[in-house]
Amino acid sequence: MIRYTALTCEALARPVYAIAATVEPVISVRLYRQGLHNTPKKLHRTLQDEVDAVQPGEAKAILMVYGLCGNSTVGLVARHTPLVIPRAHDCITLYLGSRQRYQTEFEAHPGTYWYSLDFLERLEPGSNVALGATDLGALDEVYEEYIEKYGQDNADYLMEVMGEWGKHYERAAYIDMGTGDGRPYEQVARDQAERRNWLFEKKQGDRRLLEMLLKGDWPEDEFLIVPPGHTIINTGDEMLLRAQLVEE
């Protein structure tokens, strides 16, 4: 019987559990807090500690249910057990089923805020509602502070400059993965779109890539297998990742 250990971001919990329940290999799913990509070094440390904690022979491979995630996975080292990681920037690729599809979406609307049930239902109070983004709402809160510190004139200027990139955003996309009742969360995305005057789109998620990962179907153009003693490098090209032998 094949056993895998899947180090999983909470933002993908439901689809990963759903798939793990039906595939042939026995998957040990371990969940980690979402939003750790905002502190890539912390996420990196967490993941390396978890990789190191897997005992020899415990799993045939350690599956990373992550992408680059702000380069958090770059530099992870496989010890005795190989790591397998999808060639993905982040969870959006995993939700959409392929990096080609994400690329197409990205090229059509670079300024997109993405929303999903898993992400929203696990949201900690005070954090941003869109996946992996900086909260524009947070700016409103610092405005008063800026007036006090730098004066009205400068505060207005800072709001203009720091909110500028937000003006380039134009779309809210809710991804439906087909697990759980997403309606209230879809509404959150719709409300955001209305408030910011963005286009709203609902996208059907695709479990394809997650299924391949958990089943053990890892074609080289979509997954990187990191052999023992190797580390993950960001290639900065369309393949995203490569493995490199760790120099002792």
Partner: protein
Amino acid sequence: MSLIAEIRQAVIDGQAKAVVPKVEQALAEGTAPDVILREGLIDAMKEVGRMFEEGEYFVPEMLIAARAMQAALKILKPLLVAQGVESIGKVAIGTVKGDLHDIGKSLVAMMLEGAGFEIMDLGVDVAPEKFVDAVRNGARIVAMSALLTTTMPNMKVTIEALKAAGVRDQAIVMIGGAPVTQTYADEIGADGYSSDASSAVRKAQELLGVA
């Protein structure tokens, strides 16, 4: 405090409104524009960069200081041109194709301007051809920014475009942004990398040999 020192301090404090009349007064009193530029503005931005590196200043303070510097520079620019003062080099700066984030890029642009560089700000979502055109139009430095790992590969694409157009050796390429590292700069053949706006200025000066 001398008028020049007051200008310098007003820039450091980010007082755009206060700095403008002071510059006008200094000019009216016969101070040369390039002296105001050097001792008032450039020196002030150097101090701002130092304070940022020391952790005394953060991005908002840098932004308002740069804004005050730009307000003063707007008055001085035509006079400097008339006086025949040349910039130390033209920098074409932009966020790479597909990337819409401009705070970091704009901050680097303003800090470079504050150090005496001439800035061609190409904006955000800049196609490789635009960087190529900028080099053809005399840019000695190409400075690229990316905030996303999704868009970072376009730095490499841009360098390839510069090579294909036969202008790669006419310009120095600098890169920066959250996911960017020195390793990546080496991998794609960029000439320089810096982790923040202040060290970007030093890097540009170093690469152009004007430090």
